[in-house]
C-alpha cells in the first residue's frame, strides 16, 4: 500500500514558526553546554536548565504542531523548508536545512513531551547520584540531537545529529562507568550501531554522488523528490537493484543498527545497564525510534518505483527484517528474568512491528505504532524504574512479588502500560498494532509476515503477563521491603498512563485521523470504517490472540510465587527451548565465535606477519647492511681515512674561520646590518644620480 503522492505547492514564504524551528533542538543543546560548565554540585541548576530548555522546546513544538494542524484543517498539506548553504567548494554546495511537515511536527511533540516527562522523573530517580549534573547535561544534549534528527531536512544534518545521538547514548549507557558491565555495554552499543552507521554514511555519499544534493526537500530539487528519484531509478546498481533501492537498503542498514533490528539487536538489551530514565528515553521512546523515523523520512526513496499496490525490494527487505525481529525478540523476552531486559527485548520486538508496518503499510501505519509505543513503553520503563527504585535496586523479577499492595500507583500505571503493549482492546497499542496486522493481511507479496506478527502478539501478551505476575502478584520474595516512589516519579507515570490509554483513539478505523493528518487528507468520522471486509474478523482474532496469551501466562505464573532459585514454569515444560530462549538464541555467543573470533584470528595473523615476514625482511635488510658496513669499515680504515683525515683538518680550520662570523655578539650583527644599509643606500643613490 503505497502512499499517494501529495501535491505540495512550492513554498516561497516560510511561516515564522518554521523559521525558528532550529531553536527547538538548539535550546537543549545550549542548555547542555551551559550545564557542562556547572560544577557537579550545581544539580539544581543543571536540572532547571535541562527541564526549562526542553519545556521551551515543547512549547515551540506545540506551536509548530498547531500551525501544521491549522493548515491541515484548512486543507493544506504543510511542508515548510528552510535551507542554507553550509560549505561551498567549487561548484558544489553542501546544504543544510530543516523541514516542518506533519511527520516532523508530530514526532517533535512526541519527543519533547515524553522527554520532558522523563526529565522530571529523573529528578527523583537521580536524586542520590552525585553526578546528576553530568546526567542532565548528557540528557539535554541527547534531547537536542534527537530533535535535530527530527527536523533535519538534509541527510547530512540528520547524520550529524544521528551521530550525536549515538554518542550521548554511549555516554549515558556508560553513565555508571565504574561498573565494568556498564562500560562494556556502552562500548558494545557504540560499536554495534557504528556498523549500521557506516552503511548509512555510504548511502549518503552515494546519494550525494548521484543527485548532487543532500537536501531531502528543496522545492522539487531535493534528493527524495521526483526529479532525483527518477534519476536514481534509471541508474542500475548491482544484483539487479536500482540505485534507489540500493541506497535505500544502505540507509536501512543505519536504521537497523539504531533501532536494534536483527542482526544488530544485541546492543539494546545490554544498554539496560544505564540509568532507567535513560533506558526509557533513549532505548524505548525516542532514539531507537530514530531508525523508524529515518525510514519514514526517506520513505519516498524506499518506495520509489513501486506501482500502485505493489512494493519495492527495499520495502520488502524492511518488512522481512521487521517481522523476523518482532517474533525473534518476543521469543527471547519470554525467558528473561531481568525486568528491564524483558522490556528491552519487548522494545526490539515492537520496533520490528514498526518496521514491518512501514514496509507493508506505509508511513502512517509505522509511525502510529511508534507514537503509541513511545508513550506506553516510556510508561513501562518508568514504571520499571519505579519498581527498581522501590525494591532497592533489585532488577530480578523473580526476587519481587506482591508489589500491587506496596506500590499501588506504580501497579496501576504499569498495568495500563502492559495492557497497552499487549494490544488489549481499546487501549492505544491495540489500534496501532491492528493497523499493522491489517496492512500485513493485505500485503501483496506473502502472508507469512502476517502470521509471524500474530504469533508475536501472542508472545507479547504472554511475556508481559508473566512479568506482571512475577512482579506484582504472589507474595514478596526479596529482601528489604519495597516502598512507593515519590510523587516526582509517579506523576509522570500518571501522565503517560493517560496517553497510553487514550492516544489510540486518534487512529481508529472509524476515525483514521492520524493517517489522514500525515497524508494531508481530510478525516471524517464514520462507524462504517469498521465495516471494511475482514476488519472486524481481524480485530476479533487479535483480541482472541491477546487474551489467549494472557490466560496462558496466567495459568503458568499467576499468583504462584515460586522461589527465586526454583526453575521457571516454562523451564519445567520444555527445558531445551527454555535454554535457547534464556540464552537469547546464543546470538552473542555466535558473534563471539564468529565475528569476534575472526577478528582475534586476524589480529594474530597480522601479528605473526609483522613479526615473521615484515620483521624478517627488515632483519635481513639490516643484516645485509651490516655486512656492507663491515666491508666499508675495512675499506675506510685502510684506504679512505688517510686522505680523509687530511681533508678534515683543512675543513676544521675553515670552519673555525667561518664561525667567527657567528659571534653571538649583538653588536657585531648590528654592525654588519648597518654596513649593509650603507652599501645599499650608496648603490641606490649612485644609480639614481646617473
Amino acid at each position: 500500500m503505497i502512499q499517494e503522492a501529495i501535491s505540495v505547492a512550492p513554498q516561497l514564504a516560510v511561516s515564522p514558526i518554521a523559521e525558528i524551528l532550529w531553536l527547538i533542538p538548539a535550546l537543549p543543546i545550549v542548555a547542555a553546554g551551559l550545564g557542562a560548565l556547572r560544577k557537579q554540585a550545581g544539580r539544581k541548576t543543571a536540572a532547571t536548565l535541562a527541564i526549562g530548555s526542553l519545556s521551551f522546546s515543547l512549547l515551540l513544538s506545540l506551536f509548530a504542531f498547531v500551525h501544521v494542524l491549522s493548515d491541515w484543517i484548512n486543507g493544506v498539506a504543510t511542508r515548510e523548508i528552510a535551507n542554507f548553504t553550509w560549505i561551498q567548494f567549487g561548484a558544489t554546495n553542501v546544504d543544510l536545512g530543516w523541514v516542518l511537515d506533519p511527520l516532523s511536527a508530530i514526532i517533535l511533540v512526541m519527543v519533547s513531551f515524553v522527554g520532558l516527562l522523563i526529565f522530571i522523573y529523573s529528578i527523583g530517580y537521580m536524586k542520590h547520584d552525585e553526578n546528576s549534573t553530568r546526567f542532565f547535561c548528557f540528557m539535554s544534549l541527547f534531547a537536542g540531537a534527537m530533535l535535530g534528527v527530527v527536523i533535519a531536512n538534509s541527510l547530512l544534518l540528520l547524520f550529524m545529529c544521528w551521530e550525536i545521538v549515538g554518542l550521548t547514548s554511549y555516554l549515558l549507557i556508560g553513565f555508571w562507568y565504574q561498573r565494568p558491565a556498564a562500560a562494556a555495554a556502552a562500548k558494545k552499543a557504540f560499536l554495534t550501531t557504528r556498523i549500521g552507521d557506516v552503511f548509512f554514511l555510504l548511502g549518503i555519499v552515494w546519494l550525494f554522488a548521484q543527485t548532487g544534493t543532500l537536501l531531502l526537500y528543496n522545492n522539487g530539487a531535493g534528493s527524495i523528490e521526483s526529479s532525483s528519484l527518477s534519476l536514481l531509478l534509471s541508474q542500475p546498481a548491482a544484483l539487479g537493484l536500482t540505485a534507489a533501492s540500493a541506497i535505500g537498503l544502505l540507509i536501512f542498514a543505519g536504521a537497523v543498527g539504531k533501532s536494534g533490528q536483527l542482526p544488530l539487536h544485541v546492543w539494546l538489551p545490554d544498554a539496560m545497564e544505564g540509568p532507567t530514565p535513560v533506558s526509557a528515553l533513549i532505548h524505548a521512546a525516542t532514539m531507537v525510534a530514530a531508525g523508524v523515523y529515518l525510514i519514514a523520512r526517506v520513505y519516498p526513496l524506499m518506495a520509489a518505483g513501486a506501482l500502485a499496490g505493489g512494493t519495492t525490494t527495499a520495502l520488502t527487505v524492511v518488512t522481512w527484517v521487521g517481522a523476523t525481529t518482532a517474533v525473534f525478540a518476543a521469543l527471547i523476552a519470554v525467558a528473561q528474568n531481568d525486568i528491564k531486559r524483558i522490556l528491552a527485548y519487548s522494545t526490539v520486538s515492537q520496533l520490528g512491528y514498526m518496521m514491518a508496518g512501514l514496509g507493508m503499510g506505509g508511513v502512517a501505519v509505522g509511525i502510529f505504532h511508534l507514537i503509541t509505543h513511545a508513550f506506553f513503553k516510556a510508561l513501562l520503563f518508568l514504571g520499571a524504574g519505579s519498581v527498581i527504585h522501590g525494591c532497592h535496586e533489585e532488577q530480578n523479577v523473580r526476587r519481587m512479588g506482591g508489589l500491587k499492595a506496596d506500590m499501588p500507583l506504580t501497579f496501576a500505571a504499569y498495568g495500563i502500560g502492559m495492557l497497552a503493549l499487549c494490544g488489549f482492546p481499546l487501549l492505544s497499542g491495540f489500534w496501532s498494532k491492528d493497523g499493522i496486522l491489517e496492512a500485513a493481511q493485505h500485503w501483496s507479496v506473502a502472508q507469512t509476515p502476517f502470521y509471524m506478527l500474530v504469533i508475536g502478539a501472542l508472545l507479547t501478551a504472554f511475556y508481559m503477563t508473566r512479568q506482571v505476575a512475577y512482579v506484582f502478584f504472589g507474595h514478596w520474595r526479596g529482601g528489604k521491603l519495597a516502598h512507593e516512589s515519590p510523587a516526582l516519579m509517579t506523576v509522570p507515570l500518571a501522565f503517560l498512563a493517560f496517553f497510553a490509554l487514550a492516544l489510540g483513539f486518534i487512529g481508529t478505523p472509524a476515525w483514521p485521523w492520524f493517517r489522514a493528518f500525515l497524508d494531508g487528507r481530510a478525516a471524517g468520522f464514520a462507524w462504517s470504517g469498521f465495516m471494511e471486509p475482514g476488519l472486524l474478523t481481524l480485530m476479533g482474532t487479535s483480541t482472541v490472540v491477546v487474551l489467549l496469551g494472557i490466560i496462558l501466562a496466567w495459568q503458568l505464573y499467576g499468583d504462584r510465587s515460586p522461589k527465586p532459585t526454583a526453575p521457571d514454569a516454562l523451564e519445567k515444560i520444555a527445558p531445551i527451548v527454555w535454554g535457547w530462549l534464556n540464552n537469547k538464541f546464543y546470538v552473542d555467543e555466535f558473534y563471539g565465535v564468529t565475528v569476534i573470533a575472526f577478528y582475534g584470528w586476524w589480529a594474530r595473523v597480522s601479528d605473526w606477519l609483522d613479526r615473521r615476514i615484515w620483521g624478517g625482511a627488515i632483519a635481513g635488510v639490516a643484516w645485509a647492511f651490516g655486512m656492507g658496513a663491515r666491508l666499508n669499515r675495512f675499506l675506510d680504515t685502510n684506504v679512505v681515512d688517510g686522505g680523509f683525515d687530511k681533508g678534515c683538518e683543512e675543513l676544521t680550520v675553515g670552519g673555525g674561520l667561518l664561525s667567527r662570523v657567528q659571534t653571538g655578539r649583538v653588536q657585531t650583527y648590528l654592525r654588519i646590518l648597518a654596513l649593509a644599509v650603507v652599501a645599499l643606500a650608496a648603490i641606490l643613490i649612485w644609480s639614481s644620480r646617473a
Partner: protein, 103 residues
C-alpha cells in the same frame, strides 16, 4: 637650505648618534636606548615629511609617527623586561659577556 633639509639632517645625525651608541656601548640597556634614539630620529623624519609633504591633510606621516611611538613603547617594555631577566640569569648586562646561548 630648505627647512625640510634641516630637519632631515638633524634626524640623520640623531640616527647616527643612536647607531654609534648601539654599536659601541657595552651595556644592553644603553644599546636599547640607542635604538630608541634611532626610532625617534625616524619619527622626526616622518613628521617632517608630513609637514612639508604635498598632502598633509592625509595625515599619513603623522599617523605613522603616532603608531611608531606606540610600537616603540611596546618594544621598550619587552626589551627591558628581557634585559632584567638576563641580568637575573647571568648577573650581567654587559653585551661583551653575553655571547653564549647556554645559560
Amino acid at each position: 637650505m630648505t627647512p625640510l633639509t634641516g630637519y632631515l639632517l638633524v634626524a640623520a645625525l640623531l640616527f647616527s648618534i643612536g647607531l654609534a651608541g648601539a654599536l659601541t656601548r657595552r651595556n644592553a640597556i644603553l644599546v636599547l636606548i640607542g635604538i630608541e634614539l634611532m626610532l625617534n630620529a625616524a619619527n622626526l623624519n616622518l613628521i617632517a615629511f608630513w609637514r612639508y609633504g604635498p598632502h598633509p591633510e592625509a595625515l599619513t606621516g603623522m599617523m605613522f609617527a603616532i603608531f611608531s611611538i606606540a610600537v616603540a613603547a611596546a618594544e621598550a617594555a619587552v626589551g627591558l623586561g628581557l634585559v632584567i631577566q638576563i641580568h637575573r640569569h647571568a648577573h650581567t648586562t654587559d653585551l661583551d659577556q653575553m655571547n653564549r646561548m647556554k645559560g
